[in-house]
């Protein structure tokens, strides 16, 4: 029973840790499926988290924080779009730039406005997304096996967690079953064909970049308003890059993306739990090894040793209309 409880708690923290990855990963999915590489997930998430922390603190409203996060993140996405779609700049360079701008601005503004070493003041409960108790969670707690899973693992998360997991089928539906999704995928594979059909390539890609911004904003809002209680300097700590890795791991597919994010979240949760607990046979695994594992796995995957990850064909290439 003890091992069972431990396992469920481990899975519970897996879910909590994979949510920001999932939002960011799906964000990257929209962008990259349309042919715009986005290294800037990290920066958009960070800026979103800062906006969420600031706005939620000033207004005492969780929703305001979320909207501010989305707004700021979309604006940064539009900068990326302006550089890489309108001016056909190098998408990777532009993404790197956004990461630095976000990293620097959040600290400078945070310090100037709140003077708490780059963090925003901690948020009261009303300005956060608290944990929801699903109906019957308490009543069913004592039902053997399933009751505990329901009350501990499935119930008791913030609304953003459920939203993140709902975004998976939704994204699948958008990409596979709507006109917009079909065109989005087409523009990432063969923009010239889309152009020939009389559809604007830039406008499509701008919409993809906006979708990406919205989702990164949600990721930021989750970090500052659900997982934490306010913004902390550099709170994304490389999650944007892990999400990027998960996206490649998932071969740019939404359902795979969910599993990849859960896997990376699980590794993270495991690393936290295993600290100071030696394993039988192996002894104590250094925490740094666990932290590096997602990156190592991604490199191994990229090397083509676990199946081949083929990116959208037009990814990273600015579209130039023939004259």
């Amino acid at each position: 029973m003890d091992a069972y409880v431990t396992l469920i708690q481990l899975l519970d923290s897996t879910i909590r840790l994979s949510v920001p990855l999932l939002f960011a990963c799906l964000a990257g999915l929209y962008s990259e499926r349309s042919g715009i590489f986005d290294i800037g997930l990290e920066g958009k998430m960070l800026a979103g988290a800062f906006a969420a922390g600031t706005a939620a603190y000033l207004t005492d409203s969780a929703m305001a924080g979320l909207l501010a996060a989305v707004l700021v993140s979309v604006l940064l996405g539009l900068v990326h779009g302006f550089a890489s779609i309108t001016h056909r700049g190098n998408q990777i360079v532009s993404g790197v730039a956004i990461n630095f701008i976000a990293a620097g601005t959040t600290v400078i503004l945070g310090q100037a406005w709140f003077r708490q070493g780059g963090r925003t003041p901690s948020l009261p409960a009303a300005a956060r997304f608290g944990d929801l108790q699903l109906p019957g969670a308490e009543a069913l707690r004592d039902v053997p096996v399933i009751g505990y899973i329901y009350s501990e693992l499935i119930s008791g998360h913030s609304i953003l967690v459920y939203l993140a997991f709902l975004m998976v089928p939704f994204t699948w539906w958008v990409l596979q079953r709507t006109r917009f999704g079909l065109r989005l995928r087409a523009v990432g594979e063969n923009p010239a064909a889309v152009d020939t059909a009389g559809i604007s390539v830039p406008w499509l890609r701008y919409r993809a970049v906006i979708c990406c911004g919205i989702l990164c904003g949600l990721a930021g809002s989750y970090l500052a308003q659900a997982q934490g209680a306010g913004f902390v300097k550099d709170m994304t700590a490389g999650k944007g890059y892990i999400a990027l890795a998960a996206l490649i791991f998932a071969k740019w597919r939404p359902v795979n993306a969910m599993f990849a994010c859960l896997l990376f979240g699980f590794l993270d949760a495991l690393a936290i739990r295993m600290q100071g607990h030696p394993l039988p046979l192996i002894g104590e695994v250094p925490v740094q090894f666990m932290q590096a594992l997602p990156y190592v796995l991604t490199v191994v995957l990229l090397a083509g040793f676990i199946g081949k990850a083929i990116p959208p064909r037009a990814g990273g290439v600015p579209y130039v209309k023939e004259r």
Binding site: F100, I108, G118, Q288, F289, Q291, Y295, T298, L302
Partner: protein
Amino acid sequence: MSQPFAKLPAWADYGLIPLVNLIVAFLVAGLVVLLVGENPLQAAVLMVKGAFGSGQGIGYTLYYATNFIFTGLCVAVAFHCGLFNIGGEGQAYLGGLGVSLVCLAVGNLLPWWLTFPLAILGAALAGALWALIPAWLQARRGSHIVITTIMFNFIAASLMVYLLVGVLKPAASQAPETAVFGPGGQLPQLGWLLQMFGLKVRSAPFNVSFLLALLSAFLVWVLIWRTRLGYEIRTLGLSPRAADYAGISQTKIIIITMMISGALAGMMALNPIMGAQHRMQLDFVSGAGFVGIAVALMGRSHPLGIVLAAILFGMLYQGGAEIAFDMPNISRDMIVIIQGLVILFAGALEHMFRPALQRLFGRIAGSALRAAPVTTGESH
């Protein structure tokens, strides 16, 4: 037809456009300064004063510039081959391992001028090896070098934390750092060089590796523009297909280029470790690898441009540290913003102002044509 686009003269292409991009980047940075309630002009004055106002300031400026020359060259060499090496940070970190191992091994035995070449070798080798795997993956398996080098930055960070809190830390010490090197592992300072100009350097850790950085810049120039290998690198960078037809082996060139790039990044570690701290500390690279991206873009991947851009960023680093005393709202993180803006405007939005400038030059050329008695009738 649209207006005739004049081809820009070389000075505009290599001087004016980067300058315009840079000015715009600084204007936007000025907006951020305004946003935190300080005066941008005053901030700029304080910054320049902090960087060049005293001998010590100049010493620090050149000390930081040394780091950025190495990392800038690292990014630039890869750029010439059409590769974007974001892994300078990790390669420099591993370079530190190479330097430290050499200095810990022979620092007490050999004089500095014998340790130095060995340490250069160690740094370059470690950096190059850390770049080798992403290079091989790019060349043979087609894995995108940007993603793999980012991953290798994180792996490097984890690896070095592991080594510094465990294996490399002396048993008696609490801090995650290596033991202090013996006298042979400490580079001589270059303060006397500045003192010849009547400047007092005091404690600035300006050291011999600056000269190595300048030498490396010159050698990179020779490599890229004066050797067969450099020609092949540039050919591959401009047109992989042409390189293919010319019988240039892509695999070979990609791997060699990335190893040179990684070696340059690795050599950056000499400056802070052997030149200043005389031991390896946790996170000693502190973003210099990323500054290299901005430096390479601003210097247009030319060694001379890189040296100038590196000095500018050295100035920002040193000036940024000084500014914090007078303007508490501005810390060194301001540099990160400026760095991002420079990358944005000199890199991603490189061509934003080109059409406007071309139109301007076209108009000037056009009016010059009209003013002069021209024989051909079709000027428009």
